[in-house]
């Protein structure tokens, strides 16, 4: 019914009225599929709405890859630009978010390799391998304590990010996608074009590395 009214008002060139009525009625949020369809038809505004919807998550993912705000901003823009240029190739056999994060993961991994090759990874306060850093007293919680208390400290965030930075790109992307972004194993397997078993084994190894890092720093 609402679509019918919109069509009638559109035929009468009263799209502003339609917009006003829509704003009052509080139309339900458009689905990704509908927005993608409009994007393919050349509607730039539809892509803008997709950007509004996902830009925080994409930026967060980019930041986890490069651990630098400037680089993360540039990487996130590159991801959206690539999505905009290739949206006509989106076949719709997976969710748009899966497709977008597949692009993001590939670009993030490539950017990380590029920066690492040139020694341009900034804000890296941690050291590789043997970490002889002496943690402060406040950052040494008792592992037997409540996990909520253990993770409450602000410095834990930095330790976890450093632990992520120590991961290899393949491990890093899978930890980001699963533990930070919360995708299912099936979606991750689709994004990375890997069998689900391989996805799980990689994730297990990545978690073990993070675990060892946390244990070493916190205990």
């Amino acid at each position: 019914m609402e679509r019918f009214l919109e069509t009638i008002l559109g035929l009468l060139c009263l799209n502003w009225v339609s917009w006003f009525v829509g704003a009052i009625v509080e139309a339900p949020e458009e689905s990704d599929d509908q927005l993608v369809k409009e994007c393919v038809q050349g509607n730039r505004k539809a892509f803008d709405r997709l950007v509004e919807k996902y830009h925080k998550r994409i930026y967060n993912l980019a930041y986890r890859f490069v651990n630098d705000p400037e680089e993360a901003s540039d990487l996130a823009q590159e991801i959206f630009t690539a999505a905009f240029q290739n949206i006509k190739r989106f076949r719709g056999d997976a969710k748009f978010s899966t497709w977008l994060f597949q692009i993001a993961s590939n670009r993030g991994k490539n950017r990380f390799k590029y920066l690492k090759r040139r020694g341009l990874l900034g804000n890296r306060s941690h050291s590789d391998g043997d970490d002889d850093r002496e943690p402060t007293d406040s950052s040494v919680p008792d592992p037997s304590a409540n996990p909520e208390e253990l993770l409450a400290g602000a410095q834990i965030q930095k330790i976890v990010q450093d632990a992520i930075d120590d991961l290899e790109p393949d491990h890093r992307e899978i930890v980001i996608l699963r533990d930070i972004e919360g995708f299912s194993y099936e979606e991750i397997a689709h994004m990375l074009n890997l069998p689900e078993g391989t996805t799980k084994s990689r994730l297990h190894r990545a978690r073990m590395i993070v675990k060892d890092k946390l244990k070493k720093v916190l205990s």
Binding site: W16, V51, H55
Partner: protein, 299 residues
Amino acid sequence: MKECNLICGSFLALQDGDGSRELSEQAARHFDACPDCREEFQWYGLAVHALSRIEPVEPPPDFLRQLNRRLDELRPPSYLDHIREFFSFSARHIPIPVGVCALVACAVLGVLLYQGPPLDPASLVSMVRQEPATSGPEAGVTAPPGPQTTVPAEKRRRPQVSLPVDAPEIRPLAMAPKRRLTGEYGTLSKSLRNPTIADIVGADNVTVESHTAATVAESFKHHVLPRLNGRIVEEQVKNADGEIVLGVAIPSSAYGAMNSELLNHGALVSGAGSGVQPPRRSQTDDYVRVYIRFTRPQQ
């Protein structure tokens, strides 16, 4: 040790809770017997918990603006895009005041249209029944576009006139385009010498129907025309029925007044009236030539 490796390799399934019941029971038994594996599993869970609790990083405030600029550089918007956007439902960024103003404008326009005066069917008939001119502009005479194609809104309603008792039945009559005189009347008189005025007039001028056509014509000549600063150019009694044809030259500004006078004389004039103004001329000596046929109504 073998069982330690097995349990350690199952941390993922145990943490996610998707291991079998046998595996869970075996792990529980093993953790009771092996404190190292139990501690490792605790640290594993802590790591997973820490990763899932890591705080999201907010993008910089100008992130969207920078991204839009980057996207705009890829493909500059064309006029087609603007038109498509205008006629689409995607104009989510129109400010609310603009939308409200558009809505109010639509409402006001609708009310104005709804309260407008209804059209008189008789005037519509007279608008349709416009007889063509039988002669074109003559030498030295230019014919301005007459009011026969458009009728002003105020003329859609007939003026209130006092008709004589023997007033004829109301019939829509025809109005011919006015002809403007240029220069002296001598040119006009010379040009009108042949053919005769009656032949020229035909039906495409002001026609006045009255049972007292001769009286009306006389009154018009002696009272109305001098007041309007008009002059008689030609006069002819066309036939035995007493039909009188007057060719008059009046200032263009007096055209409407003349029609009002004709109406006040108990005649019916269609297609013109007091409110009709001929096309404006800049010179004050602009005259229009009008042929008026005074005739008795047909039985």
